[in-house]
Structures are given as structure tokens and as C-alpha cells.
């Protein structure tokens, strides 16, 4: 039976994940773009791992890490009252990790494409690193930030394996649209599966199309 809740949950998850990723991803991308050390490649690799790792592997390790009987799980439970296994909060944490490269990589590329002389010019004009970051660097990588934000959002909407592993399929808590589709297909309710699938298809198409059109206009403005 078609129910709006999985769709609402999906977009809630994607919105919260993207917001957290923006806050985490911009400084991380900036650090990676500026950092000169061989350890940089270790961090870079860790950030990019979710691109190639099967989602089930990631989900499996997160499941073990967040296990309420385990050390980390107990610590989170007792200190923050957080239970990350089979809960919406757990999905958020997993999605942030899973979509991290989609946020960090485009923004990092954006920072790297800016000539160092822009930063230096700003310094010789008497402006602090923070002022330079807000007024010069960030505004000049707007297209990268927009791309990263939208791709991260869309990628979280399309998540399946990690969620199945760590969230299961609890209605209203962890049953997002992709899981709902899987359940309906298993129950041979192809009509309902179609409805969810078509809505996801249409929404992601519109989102991506918008990015490409807006970005082209952005680039023209420069």
C-alpha cells in the first residue's frame, strides 16, 4: 500500500545529512586542498573510500561499531543517550560517512582551482585568513559548492545498502523510499513499487537538471 511516510523520511534524511555535510565538508575540503603532507593522502583515501566500497561493507562495520553491547555503542548510549543501530540518528551518521566524498571532492577541486595569488593578494590588502575565506575563496567556488550539495543530497536519497544494514526497515524510523521499494517488490506489489520508484526518478532528474542549468549560468556570470 502506497504511503507517503517513506518519501518524507527519505527527504528528511537527505536534508539533515546534506546540512551536516556542508558544515563538515567545507573545512575538510579546504584542509585537504591546502595541506601539504604525505598524511594528506591517507585522509584523502579515507574520505574517498565510500566511492568504491560496497555499501554493505560500510554498513556492516558501522553495525558492529554502533552495537549497543560494544564499547563505542555503550559510550554513545551512556553519554549522549544515542542509539545508532536501527534508528534514524544512526541513518544520519551512516549517510554522512557514505556521502562524504560527494561533498568533499567537488569542493576540494574548487579550492584547488583558485590561484594562490588570490589569497596572497587578500593578505597584502590587510585581510585576515578568515575574512579571505568568507569574502574571496567561498564566493569564488560557488558552482562547486552547489554541485557538491546537490550531488550529496541526491546520493543520500538513493542510498540503500548501508541503510538496510544499519537501519533495517522500521516504519517511520528507518524505512526510507529505497527500502520501501525493495519491500514492495519482495511482496510482489509492483504497482506500489512503481509509484515510489517513479517519484524518486522524477525528483532526482529534476534536481540534477537544475544543477546543470544553474551552474552554467553561474559560470557565465564570471
Amino acid at each position: 500500500m502506497f504511503d507517503l511516510q517513506p518519501l518524507i523520511l527519505t527527504f528528511q534524511l537527505a536534508l539533515i545529512t546534506t546540512a551536516i555535510l556542508l558544515v563538515l565538508g567545507i573545512p575538510l575540503a579546504y584542509g585537504l586542498a591546502r595541506w601539504e603532507s604525505r598524511w594528506k593522502y591517507v585522509l584523502q583515501t579515507l574520505v574517498s573510500m565510500p566511492l568504491v566500497l560496497p555499501p554493505t561493507v560500510l554498513g556492516f562495520y558501522l553495525l558492529i561499531a554502533f552495537n549497543p553491547a560494544g564499547r563505542l555503542g555503550r559510550f554513545l548510549e551512556s553519554v549522549f543517550g544515542l542509539q545508532l543501530v536501527f534508528s534514524f540518528e544512526g541513518l544520519v551518521v551512516a549517510s554522512v560517512i557514505y556521502s562524504l566524498p560527494f561533498m568533499v571532492n567537488p569542493i576540494q577541486a574548487g579550492f584547488q582551482s583558485l590561484p594562490a595569488s588570490l589569497t596572497e593578494a587578500s593578505y597584502t590588502l590587510g585581510k585576515s585568513p578568515l575574512h579571505t575565506f568568507w569574502r574571496v575563496l567561498l564566493p569564488n567556488i560557488k558552482p562547486s559548492i552547489l554541485t557538491a550539495t546537490v550531488i550529496s543530497f541526491a546520493h543520500t536519497v538513493g542510498e540503500f545498502g548501508v541503510i538496510l544494514m544499519i537501519g533495517g526497515s522500521i516504519p517511520g524510523e528507518t524505512r526510507v523510499a529505497s527500502i520501501a521499494i525493495y519491500n514492495e517488490v519482495e511482496a510482489l506489489n509492483y504497482d506500489t513499487a512503481h509509484q515510489y520508484a517513479l517519484i524518486l526518478f522524477a525528483i532526482t532528474f529534476v534536481i540534477l537538471l537544475t544543477v546543470y542549468i544553474v551552474n552554467r549560468r553561474f559560470l557565465k556570470a564570471f
Binding site: 595569488s117 593578494a121 593578505y123
Partner: protein, 291 residues
């Protein structure tokens, strides 16, 4: 008065060199650093601006110490009143011409100086444009004006005209001279272009592999013997051909190719590719090698 000393190991395409520079620059003087690429000229400017830290160094500007490695003093670029014009101009693409200049104002500072500078470099009409829509010469003027907004004690120009064609260079040299009269500032210029050096600077320092090998008036430094020529141009020898008892030397000067007659003894010290000065002494043109 600026006192500048810096020592730093540099890795260049020709291998490592030791930058070791000692300079005194008089107030309101324009001094040019001349030398091959990789000789350490740009690094010297960057050290003055505080963008690069030398291993050892001392910078004193009008009695104020900016850098003293023995006392561990090193002011960050923000606290040094310098104007730096980068080779690529480094204009902020997200801001209009006026916003680029206003960016250099201190918080709450009156923007009169911005309008004055826009007018001085004739950019009022373009003030609302973004850098991407400007020509090379216009961008250069924006960069120059922006560097002067803070009323710096020291203006550093890193090959500011190298990306422009000959005609534009001439115009902008005028522009720089005009600005220097209106907003007097001690200037350090990096340049390869002899005409530019003669035109803009009072003194020139030749840097070779990190060291100053000659320092003085451009005429003293570049012309081995003093001339009393009525006119002189610098150019490059394209060909030397014997013709009966004399030689015909073909020289490219700017867009022109001229042929000059030279004697045996003159040709002795000349080779194809040499930089020379062609000057006219009363009636006969003479050729002098340029160092």
C-alpha cells in the same frame, strides 16, 4: 628609506641557489630588479611582502622593523603596508572593479580614496564591470589601483606589464609614472624589459643566481661605456653579414628591422642573438653590446 637583507635557499629549475640580497632603497625611489627567471627576483618581493619567510633577514621601512630573524620578528603580510601587484593581477573574480578596490579599505574607512584612484587610472566607466570582462591592460590598471588603496609605504610590482603587447606597455608605463607622481610611493619593480627599466626606474639591481651583481643607474648598468648619443634604441641582432670591407648587422628593434653598418673591430664583440643598443652619434649609428 628601506633597508632589506634576506638569505634563503631556493630550488629553481637550474638547481638550488642561495638567495642573498642586500639593498637600501631611498624613499620614493623606483628600483628595478633585473635578471633571468629563477634568479630570485620574485622571491625577494615576496619576502618584502611577508608572503615568504627567509631563513635570515632584516627589513626596516621608515624606521619600523618588519622582519628581524635574529630577534624573531616577522610581521604578517596584513601588518605590512605594501601594495603588491601580482603577475596574474589576482583580481577577485566575484567582485566588480569598484568592489575589488573597496575590499582593500579598512573596516569603516571612507571610500574617497577608491573613487580618487578609479578616476586616476581612468576606470570610472568600468567600475561596475567584473574582471573577466576587462582587457589585460584594464585588469592591470585595476590591480595597480587596488594596490594603492591602503596608501602603502612600498609598492611591489612583479612583472606587471609582461603579459601585454608593446603598445599597451607604453601606455601603462605612462600610467605608472603618472600614479607615482600623484601618490608618491617607494617602488620595487621586477622587469625583463630594458625600455621599461629606463623609463620607470631610477636605479636597477641586476640579480644573478640569487645575488646582486650590479647596482646603479640603468644607463651605467646596461651600457658598458658612456654614450653621448642623440638617440638610442635597444634591440637584438638577427644577422651579421660581411659586405666588402664592412659588415651589415641586422637588428630587430621593437617591430622594426634595421640594418647598420659595422666595422671589423665592432663585429668582433658581437654575435647573433646579442642585445645591443643602436645609437646615433652625430651622423653615424654605432652598436654597443648590452650586458
Amino acid at each position: 628609506m628601506i633597508r632589506f637583507h634576506a638569505q634563503k635557499k631556493l630550488l629553481t629549475s637550474d638547481g638550488p641557489i642561495d638567495l642573498n640580497i642586500d639593498l637600501e632603497i631611498a624613499a620614493r625611489e623606483c628600483l628595478t630588479l633585473f635578471g633571468k627567471s629563477g634568479a630570485g627576483k620574485t622571491t625577494a618581493l615576496r619576502i618584502l611582502a611577508g608572503l615568504t619567510r627567509p631563513e635570515q633577514g632584516y627589513i626596516e621601512v621608515d624606521g619600523k622593523v618588519w622582519l628581524d630573524s635574529t630577534r624573531n620578528i616577522c610581521l604578517p603580510p596584513q601588518q605590512r603596508p605594501v601594495g603588491f601587484v601580482f603577475q596574474d593581477y589576482a583580481l577577485f573574480p566575484n567582485m566588480t572593479v569598484r568592489e575589488n578596490l573597496r575590499y582593500a579599505l579598512a573596516a569603516g574607512e571612507d571610500s574617497v580614496i577608491v573613487e580618487e584612484l578609479l578616476e586616476a587610472v581612468d576606470l570610472h566607466a568600468l567600475a561596475q564591470r567584473r574582471p573577466a570582462s576587462l582587457s589585460g591592460g584594464q585588469r592591470q590598471r585595476v590591480a595597480l589601483a587596488r594596490a594603492l588603496v591602503r596608501r602603502p609605504k612600498l609598492l611591489l610590482l612583479d612583472e606587471p606589464l609582461s603579459a601585454l603587447d608593446m603598445e599597451m606597455r607604453g601606455k601603462l608605463q605612462d600610467e605608472i609614472l603618472k600614479l607615482q607622481q600623484r601618490f608618491p610611493v617607494t617602488t620595487l619593480l621586477v622587469s625583463h624589459n630594458l625600455a621599461e627599466i629606463f623609463r620607470l626606474s631610477q636605479r636597477v639591481a641586476v640579480i644573478e643566481r640569487g645575488r646582486i651583481t650590479a647596482l646603479g643607474l640603468p644607463a651605467e648598468v646596461f651600457i658598458t661605456k658612456q654614450l653621448s648619443g642623440k638617440f638610442k634604441f635597444e634591440g637584438e641582432i638577427l644577422a651579421i653579414q660581411p659586405e666588402d670591407v664592412v659588415y651589415i648587422v641586422t637588428v630587430s628593434i621593437g617591430q622594426n628591422v634595421v640594418r647598420v653598418i659595422a666595422t671589423d673591430s665592432e663585429v668582433d664583440q658581437l654575435r647573433v642573438g646579442d642585445r645591443v643598443i643602436v645609437s646615433s652619434k652625430a651622423f653615424n649609428p654605432i652598436l654597443m653590446p648590452v650586458r
